[in-house]
């Protein structure tokens, strides 16, 4: 009997240890699941509908509601064009797209990420179950207009931003489809869930000549009055060629986008200087827009080190062979912003503030001077701006379409030709901005599979700058 009591005591100690272990394990596993398991990949889709039943709204800067929960149902922008123009950015509650506000900000939208005091205050007010509202810098009207600009073409992307503050006013990607299709996961056109504005790697084509010019202007070998007679024939075996432009200086070559001239600039400054310049741009470091992932830009022209022909193609902005140059429309818009901002560009952002159900702003984007980043030296940026303004003013260029009466428009277009595709198709690119302190807008447009040259992109970009002047909220 004595023995039995002793054994029971030992057994109880063992069971107590087990119990405490279980309790501790429970606390630990809950903590782990909150920090480690929110990955979208392994998400329980069937639970999302109820989880979003009382979620907060996503609101555009002009007050247009982009997403909200009513009667336990998630609803998206009423206006179909606003819906299409924001679909890949705002996203769906079913999380079929993962790089979206709905997904990346689900903690706030569902009200799961609050401090204890805040939660208690909300609970006392009877609003604890509601999620926070996310206010975006996106404007519903501009998104709708941007979508309509791109709608006629197979695919494309457009980023419109304020180059002084970094606010993204519109970020549109086509093709896009209605939210109801995405939620049902039916009738979705190819690549309609892909956000080209942030994640598509486009080759920059002639827009790259802004970099070639800038690298040349900072090169030790820079000759201010360097001219060249362009016959259209390559100067090096397999090198850059074009249709022939005649006598070119930097201004005219930039306006005419002369491949031969810029190919020669690359060779004159040398691969080493050019590469160093590209590496110092910092665009490869830009890999996010708030919590959204952005495909970082990539430039690598080292393949042209011992190949003058290849290097000349690099100068022209056509990534031939092993040359690598790829960037997203967002990067392109930032380059335009940096030129417009005399070398400095702000960190881009899309989430303006997060507001809890008691209307307290829990997170507000802080824009300050310190967050400005330098891409070019000020005097260099001013020179680039002159080139880009001249490019638009020059009556021979396709960019002439970008002119807006009464305001100074600066820009650079590009056309990417792909001959190995079944049909002969081009991708048109344009980056531009208004050189007007009252209208600090920059735009980047990419239009895929167009038959004409970059004209479509230029027109869409110009229209957007015009709309921004008309509707942009300062």
């Amino acid at each position: 009997m004595k023995q039995l009591i002793r054994n029971i005591k030992i057994a109880l100690v063992v069971l107590l240890v087990l119990t405490i272990g279980l309790g501790t394990g429970l606390v630990y596993q809950q903590y782990q699941s909150q920090t480690e398991l929110l990955a979208v990949a392994g998400e329980n889709k069937a639970s999302l509908r109820t989880r979003y039943a009382q979620a907060g709204s996503i609101v555009a800067k002009d007050g247009v509601v982009l997403a909200q929960s009513e009667d336990g149902q998630r609803q998206y922008a009423e206006d179909i064009y606003v819906q299409l123009g924001t679909s890949q950015l705002v996203g769906d509650y079913t999380h079929h797209m993962s790089n979206t506000i709905e997904t990346q900000y689900q903690g706030e939208i569902l009200g799961n990420k609050r401090g204890i005091t805040e939660q208690l205050l909300l609970d006392l007010a009877g609003r604890g179950l509601q999620g926070d509202d996310v206010h975006l810098t996106i404007q519903g009207d501009l998104s709708s207009l941007a979508y309509q600009e791109l709608e006629p073409y197979d695919a494309g992307a457009l980023v419109l931003m304020n180059y002084k503050t970094g606010e993204i006013l519109a970020s549109v990607s086509t093709p896009a489809t209605e939210m109801s299709n995405i939620i049902r996961y039916e009738d979705i056109p190819d690549t309609a869930l892909f956000n080209r504005a942030l994640n598509s790697a486009y080759q920059p084509a002639s827009t790259f000549k802004v970099f070639t010019s800038a690298a040349w202007l900072t090169s030790p070998n820079f000759q201010p009055d360097f001219t060249l007679e362009c016959s259209g024939e390559p100067l090096y075996p397999g090198g850059a060629r074009d249709k022939g432009h005649g006598l070119m200086d930097l201004n005219e070559a930039f306006a005419a986008s002369c491949n031969v001239y810029f190919g020669e600039l690359a060779n004159k400054m040398g691969e080493e200087h050019f590469s160093e310049f590209l590496n110092n741009l910092g665009l490869d470091k830009i890999d996010s827009l708030d919590r959204l992932d952005v495909r970082p830009a990539r430039y690598d022209i080292s393949a042209g080190k011992n190949d003058a022909g290849l290097l000349s193609w690099a100068g022209a902005g056509q990534p031939v062979g092993n040359l690598i140059a790829e960037e997203t429309p967002l990067h392109l818009a930032l380059v335009a912003s940096a030129v417009a901002g005399h070398g400095d560009y702000p960190e881009p952002y899309v989430v303006e503030k997060i507001v809890n159900p008691l209307q307290r702003e829990t997170r507000v984007h802080k824009a300050d001077k310190a967050s400005m980043k330098r891409m070019f030296a000020p005097e260099l940026a001013i020179r680039l701006e002159q080139l880009m303004i001249h490019g638009v003013e020059s009556s021979e260029s396709v960019q002439y379409n970008a002119a807006i009466p009464g305001v100074k428009v600066a820009g650079k277009s590009g056309t990417l030709e792909r001959e190995n595709v079944e049909s002969y198709q081009k991708t048109g690119l344009w980056m531009g901005f208004l050189a007007e302190p009252n209208y600090p807008f920059a735009v980047a447009v990419v239009v895929e599979n167009v038959e004409t040259s970059s004209e479509t992109a230029v027109v869409a970009g110009r229209n957007m700058l015009q709309y921004a002047m008309d509707y942009g909220i300062q």
């Binding site: 009997m1 004595k2 069971l15 394990g25 429970l26 596993q29 480690e36 398991l37 329980n44 109820t50």
Partner: protein
């Protein structure tokens, strides 16, 4: 404010209720167990040994329900002689009679001059000799009987003792009131949360309140049915029952998109059909609970008043493998389940393995009621190996994970065979590795378990989704009805713990862990206070089984250990499980009420 927001606010209240109830029950259970342990070395009344000392004076030596004799210091009666083995013999009570048995083959024990080679029943005035020392077995009841007198004094002592037991146990009235508050809260919220159009609000109220009323009634009349009823144990289990009712009603009756869509599409008949089907799922659970409660007092009374369980040992030993065999032959699986544990009889599915656990525990208890000699231990090992093999073939890994530790626990507590227990543990580990390499079912469970933090696949999706729900619950939960249990496989049964944590928070999880420990403590108290080895070991086994079952579920659904198809006692959906748990509770209640009188009655 709508009812869902109200539920969200009231989560603080329900958290306070469950944690206070759990803490209070734990406090009482610890205090009473400590008291019971201090007073447990309570000799049997009117039964003792007389030792004739050399000076001619006789010394009386007390006997416990199991009294060990030998040279070792852990014996209740120590005999200092080189002829006496360290553990020499044992005197024990079983089924109201007293027996003596040598503890090893070489240990010489004589009764009235006859050498023993097995157990022998002791009668009044039997002389026991071992190692040159003589004892006389005295049974004052027999003496009284032979003189035609009644033996009163001892009964009085016994009653006095149990009055002291009662003085030292606080009737958990506050906890009972709080449990009812919790039920009222949940029922009120659910009533308004259930869509009015479903037309089941009234039925929900009637069935739920009916079940709760019966639970309450039992709580109040328990001391009238059973003399020394363990109300703390009953209340702990019944709190788990009401939590189960709330969560099952919530899972069955709230948030049906099928119903909502049918209504919105104007298909009234289809919607009614869905509502009726959903409600019948909930009603089935309540009916199982009502049946369980009905048998509760009958079984408790039988256990308390009679020795029926003891006489059923052989039946149970045969029944256990038989039930498993029937399941193995006729068993059908459920979707997403590797195991085929369901038997269908007339449209009703029954899980016989749940009842096999009880018969297993009864068999176990009767084998180890008094430190059995090696021969008996080997018999048991053979029987248990066969049973476990059947479990492995089913395969019912969950039951193995429950019964193996319980068997070892009962074995080591009743026999003090620490070395053997350790060796069995080693052997079990080897068997585990073997099972891993032989059974693909085991392998997939393990691989699903080890990969939960790195990837989501078919074998771990259940746990990952469950963990996500647990994570969403945070400390206080989202309030009853505000969780998102959709998409978690088997959410009403195997994974119910995760919904509890999502809607009632981590607090509820910890409270349930405390409830389990309280059940274990109450079972241990029964073991300590019991007047015979069988009651001791059965109480221990039942308590440990309930504890282990919940441990395996909670550990499994939270990814701490591999998930097995075990369900949370008293809470998870499943009539067989609920019924079996009520039986276990009933037996525990009956055992707790057994006392001296009961121990002697035949």
């Amino acid at each position: 404010m709508n009812v869902f927001e109200a539920s969200y606010l009231l989560r603080y209240l329900s958290a306070v209720i469950v944690i206070v109830v759990a803490a209070k029950l734990l406090y009482s259970a610890i205090r009473e167990l400590a008291w019971a342990m201090r007073h447990s070395l309570r000799p049997a009344q009117g039964i003792f040994l007389l030792n004739n000392q050399t000076e001619g004076e006789a010394m009386s030596l007390p006997l416990y329900h199991t009294t060990s004799l030998g040279r070792g210091s852990s014996n209740d009666i120590r005999i200092h002689s080189s002829d006496v083995a360290r553990k020499h013999a044992q005197i024990y009570r079983y089924d109201g009679d007293w027996y003596i048995r040598p503890q090893r083959f070489s240990a010489k024990v004589e009764v009235n001059g006859e050498e023993l080679n097995g157990k022998r029943k002791l009668e009044n005035r039997d002389t026991i000799s071992l190692g040159g020392t003589d004892f006389v077995f005295v049974d004052e009841r027999a003496i009284a009987k032979s003189r035609g007198e009644t033996y009163e004094e001892a009964i009085f002592d016994d009653r006095a003792f149990y009055r002291a037991v009662r003085r030292n146990s606080n009737p958990p009235y506050l906890e009972w009131v709080m449990m009812n508050l919790f039920t009222a809260l949940c029922t009120f919220l659910l009533y308004f949360m259930i869509p009015k159009e479903m037309g089941v609000r009234k039925d929900f109220l009637i069935w739920t309140l009916g079940a709760v009323a019966l639970i309450d009634l039992y709580f109040l009349i328990l001391p009238k049915i059973l003399l020394y009823a363990d109300r703390i144990l009953y209340l702990t289990c019944s709190h788990m029952m009401v939590i189960g009712l709330a969560i099952q009603a919530r899972l069955h009756l709230l948030g049906s998109y099928a119903f909502r869509e049918a209504r919105e599409a104007g298909e009234i008949l289809k919607a009614q059909d869905i509502a009726a089907r959903l409600f019948s799922g909930y009603r089935t659970q309540i009916i199982a609970l009502l049946i369980g409660l009905f048998f509760l007092w009958i079984i408790a009374l039988i256990v308390y008043k009679t020795r029926l369980l003891e006489s059923m040992t052989l039946v149970c030993a045969i029944l256990t493998p038989l039930l498993l065999l029937v399941t193995l032959i006729l068993g059908r699986g459920m979707e997403t389940h590797g195991a085929n544990l369901w038997i269908y009889i007339g449209g009703q599915s029954i899980q016989l393995t749940e009842f096999a656990k009880i018969t297993f525990l009864i068999t176990l208890a009767s084998f180890f009621k008094n430190q059995p000699p090696l021969r008996i231990q080997i018999y048991f090992a053979g029987w248990a190996a066969g049973v476990f093999l059947l479990y492995l073939l089913l395969p019912d890994l969950g039951s193995i994970m429950i019964l193996l530790p319980v068997t070892l626990l009962v074995f080591v507590v009743m026999t003090s065979e620490y070395l053997k227990t350790f060796l069995i543990l080693v052997a079990a580990s080897v068997m585990g590795v073997l099972a891993y390499s032989i059974f693909p079912h085991v392998r997939s469970r393990i691989s699903g378990w080890t990969s939960i933090w790195t990837e989501v696949n078919d074998s771990n999706r259940q746990v990952v989704y469950g963990l996500q729900a647990i994570g969403r619950g945070e400390i206080f939960g989202r309030g009853l009805g505000n969780g998102s249990p959709g998409g978690i496989p088997l959410v009403e049964s195997d994974m119910v713990f995760t919904v509890l944590l999502e809607e009632f928070g981590l607090i509820m999880g910890l409270a349930l862990v405390i409830f389990l420990f309280v059940i274990m403590l109450r079972a241990t108290r029964t073991t300590v206070l019991a007047r015979d080895g069988f009651s001791s070991s059965l109480g221990l086994g039942l308590g440990a089984a309930l504890f282990m079952e919940a441990f395996v579920v909670i550990g499994g659904t939270t990814g701490l250990i591999p998930l097995t198809g075990v369900t949370l006692p008293f809470i998870a959906q499943g009539g067989s499980s609920l019924l079996a748990k009520c039986f276990m509770l009933a037996i525990l209640l009956g055992l707790a009420s057994r006392h001296e009188e009961g121990a002697n009655r035949k």
